[in-house]
């Protein structure tokens, strides 16, 4: 039996169905990431699990018992909010101590536990400050400390790194798992950043249009995305998606891509004659300035990204394609438009149905 079970959840606001039919099982001790573009309902979902909103239909159960009718204060949940939600009129110490105060812990034990968490999150030195005197990073850590100190069995983290500087965000991405491992809680983490989702999650649940379109490990989501939408959401630059129609030719299955002809491997027979979307990631498109047997293209622009070079290619009939390669090669100092040839690594090809975008 999973630790957190969400079944058939529905929620509407003013005739707009934000959550259509959500079902999810989170195992005990798992770090599950809910990923989705903004306004997709992630926060509404978390609020329902926390007890702030009631679902219109469906059930939420924690450790075997349904909690839909249970008030938030009885659910043994720790939550860290996107906008921190610290108590402005209390010091960081009192903020963190709040979950322990409601349990009427003896003062000595309470102080010890608060300091323990504060030390672990490196905010012990500012623990007597009011929230307005803390930096963004410190506020975020205080919010995190407050959610952890009660050692809740379920931890809900609502995009806690959203409002934090890029550098601190990367640091926290490393620290968070280290910190959470100490507590062995089950974690549900919400984010809009796909890198964060892949880095932190044991599994990622992709929430689009009020349903989970795929719940799988980061590897599975990146290498076998369930539909075009998911494929585009994971990866920077986004995956190239081109409409193709493979046909059986003399030399095997062929298709027209970006003005050139590409031969598919043998197991592409099921695609013959079918209109579909061909997906290939930029790292699987190799570009050469010398003529090769690849597709002739114009290299329009090179934008470096994280030690890779991202190249915008344009096929003879106008299709745009992304390719990328590691920095430190002959392309490093290239500027402006050039003639080039692109080779596609079909071992990493994806095919999707034209009408619903589902994976083939």
């Amino acid at each position: 039996m999973a630790f957190l079970e969400i079944t058939g959840l529905k929620k509407s606001f003013k005739d707009h169905e934000i959550i259509r039919d959500l079902s999810l099982d989170v195992e005990r001790g798992e770090f599950l990431v809910i990923f989705g573009p903004s306004a997709c309902g992630k926060t509404v979902l978390l609020r329902m699990v926390a007890g702030m909103l009631r679902p219109d239909a469906g059930d939420i159960s924690i450790d075997g018992s349904s909690v839909v009718d249970v008030n938030p204060e009885y659910r043994d949940i720790g939550m860290a909010f996107q906008n921190y939600a610290l108590y402005p009129h209390m010091t960081a110490f009192d903020n963190i101590a709040s979950p322990l105060r409601s349990r009427h812990l003896p003062a000595a034990e309470l102080t010890e536990r608060v300091h323990e968490v504060a030390r672990m999150l490196r905010i012990d030195h500012v623990i007597d400050h009011l929230p307005k005197a803390l930096s963004q990073g410190q506020k975020q850590r205080t919010a995190l400390a407050r959610s952890l100190v009660g050692r809740p069995s379920l931890l809900l983290l609502d995009d806690p790194l959203r409002n934090v500087d890029a550098k601190i965000r990367y640091e926290m991405r490393l620290e968070l798992p280290r910190v959470l491992r100490r507590y062995e809680s089950t974690v549900v983490y919400v984010t809009q950043d796909y890198k964060e989702a892949m880095a932190l999650g044991d599994r990622v649940a992709v929430l689009v249009d009020g349903v989970f379109s795929q719940i799988a490990s980061p590897h599975a989501i990146y290498d076998a995305p369930g539909n075009t939408r998911i494929a585009r959401l994971f990866g920077d630059p986004p995956i190239n998606l081109l409409a193709v129609r493979p046909l059986t030719g003399a030399a095997g299955i062929e298709m027209q891509v970006a003005g050139g002809t590409v031969r598919l491997p043998v197991d592409g027979t099921q695609l013959a004659g079918r209109e579909c979307m061909f997906g290939i990631r930029s790292e699987n498109v190799a570009v050469s300035l010398e003529p090769t047997d690849g597709i002739p293209v114009t290299l329009d622009a090179i934008t470096p990204l994280n030690n890779r070079l991202v190249m915008l290619l344009r096929g003879t009939e106008g299709t745009e394609l992304f390719a990328s390669c590691p920095q430190g090669g002959p392309m490093d100092r290239l500027r402006g438009r050039h003639q080039a040839w692109a080779r596609l690594d079909l071992a990493h090809a994806h095919f999707f149905d034209s009408s619903d975008g589902a994976r083939i």
């Binding site: 573009p37 500087d165 990866g235 986004p238 622009a301 934008t303 030690n307 190249m311 992304f322 402006g336």
Partner: protein, 378 residues
């Protein structure tokens, strides 16, 4: 289509103790794309606004081409600007907003029509042309503001945080298209941004600013391979540069871990700067995650260190591995196929040429690249 010279320009606001911009000098070539990069309050926006003419210049000269523009009003300077707050005209349609500058310059209407269509297509706002600014989203308004600036025939183009609100999916595409457009039309452009990935993607050269001072002005590769000081080194790059405390011991670098023990050493090449370092002098040693090799193999003579994997973030096209080596946490970027589960032992090579040495007190870079790789301290 023009050069832009900033000669020792400074800005002091009335009643302020510090300079918002402190003797900044930049010579921007004709058709060059330059990014002003820094965190908020560093002076980059003030510098841009001085070039535009919205702020007076306390000291120094600004020349657009051969003309000294210090005393000219913005409209006399022939600059096009895209504002951080978009500043669109609410009663005009998007189409009219974009065309506004061209109408003022009295360009022929067929030409305007053509250009608006082209730029709207490039920035993916064709569907919005007949809409009014208040009815479109922030990201869309930003693109309209960009279109309005880029469509004009100006001497210099000034873009203030031009893509901060863009949806992540569009970012890669529009960055590439805009770069292509700027290069194809030889547009001298100055971009202000706080996002170093944006600066590196777009710019020919980047001016890193902090507290009003220009820290370094160079190509993205210069900034990555030869950062002038600690600020630039830690600002540029994702993941950020690995930095460790160290000190000079017998002409070698002794790298210290969190417990202040010596974890590694590497011979310090003799140069003018390094000879001046006293025994025990405190330094910082940095190495970019992308240059750290994690894997069996590598050249036979490279000294190999073995550490424990504390984190492994698989990101699809690469993986970011955190390795604990003698109390020092090192982040490395490795190939996506690397098998390095958390808790396992992996060999790590830190090549000498990837190591940068900085002085702790001043932050200035002392040395880029050592002659041999970093080895474990005995």
């Amino acid at each position: 289509m023009t050069t832009l010279y900033l000669d020792k320009i400074s800005k002091v606001y009335a009643g302020a103790a510090e300079r918002a911009v402190d003797t900044v000098t930049m010579h921007i070539e004709d058709g060059e794309i330059v990014a002003l990069l820094g965190s908020s309050g560093c002076g980059k926006t003030t510098t841009l606004r001085m070039v535009a003419g919205f702020e007076t210049v306390t000291d120094g000269e600004i020349r657009v081409g051969p003309r000294l523009v210090n005393t000219l009003t913005p409209s006399q300077r022939n600059v096009a600007m895209a504002f951080e707050t978009y500043a669109l005209y609410p009663p005009l349609r998007v189409r009219e907003n974009i065309a506004f500058g061209l109408l003022r310059d009295r360009v022929a209407s067929t030409e305007i029509e053509k250009r608006v269509k082209h730029i709207a297509g490039m920035l993916e706002i064709t569907d919005l042309l007949e809409r009014y600014p208040p009815s479109i989203s922030g990201g869309e308004q930003q693109r309209v503001s960009l279109a309005r600036a880029l469509i004009r025939n100006a001497a210099v183009y000034l873009l203030d945080e031009p893509m901060s609100q863009l949806e992540p999916q569009l970012r890669a595409l529009l960055r590439a298209r805009i770069k292509d457009y700027l290069i194809a039309h030889k547009m001298t452009t100055v971009c202000v941004t706080h996002d170093q990935t944006e600066a590196i993607a777009l710019a020919d050269r980047i001016a890193v600013m902090e507290k009003g001072l220009l820290q370094q002005f160079g190509t993205p590769i210069d900034l990555q391979e030869r950062p002038a000081n600690l600020f630039v080194a830690s600002f540029i790059g994702e993941p950020p540069m690995n930095l460790f405390s160290a000190m000079v011991q017998n002409q070698t670098i002794a790298v210290l871990n969190e417990r202040q023990e010596v974890a590694f050493h590497a011979p310090l090449p003799a140069s003018e700067r390094t000879r001046q370092l006293a025994e025990g002098h405190r330094i910082m040693v940095g190495v970019r995650p992308h240059k750290v090799h994690v894997a069996p193999g590598g050249s036979a003579e490279a000294a190999t260190l073995v550490g424990e994997v504390t984190s492994n973030h698989w990101l699809g096209d690469s993986c970011h591995v955190g390795v604990m080596l003698r109390g020092c946490l090192l982040i490395a970027v490795a190939n996506r196929d690397l098998q390095a589960p958390v808790g396992s032992q992996v060999p790590v090579v830190i090549p000498g040429e990837a190591v940068h040495v900085f002085d702790v007190e001043t932050g200035v870079a002392i040395q880029h690249g050592l002659e041999s790789a970093v080895a474990l301290a005995v």
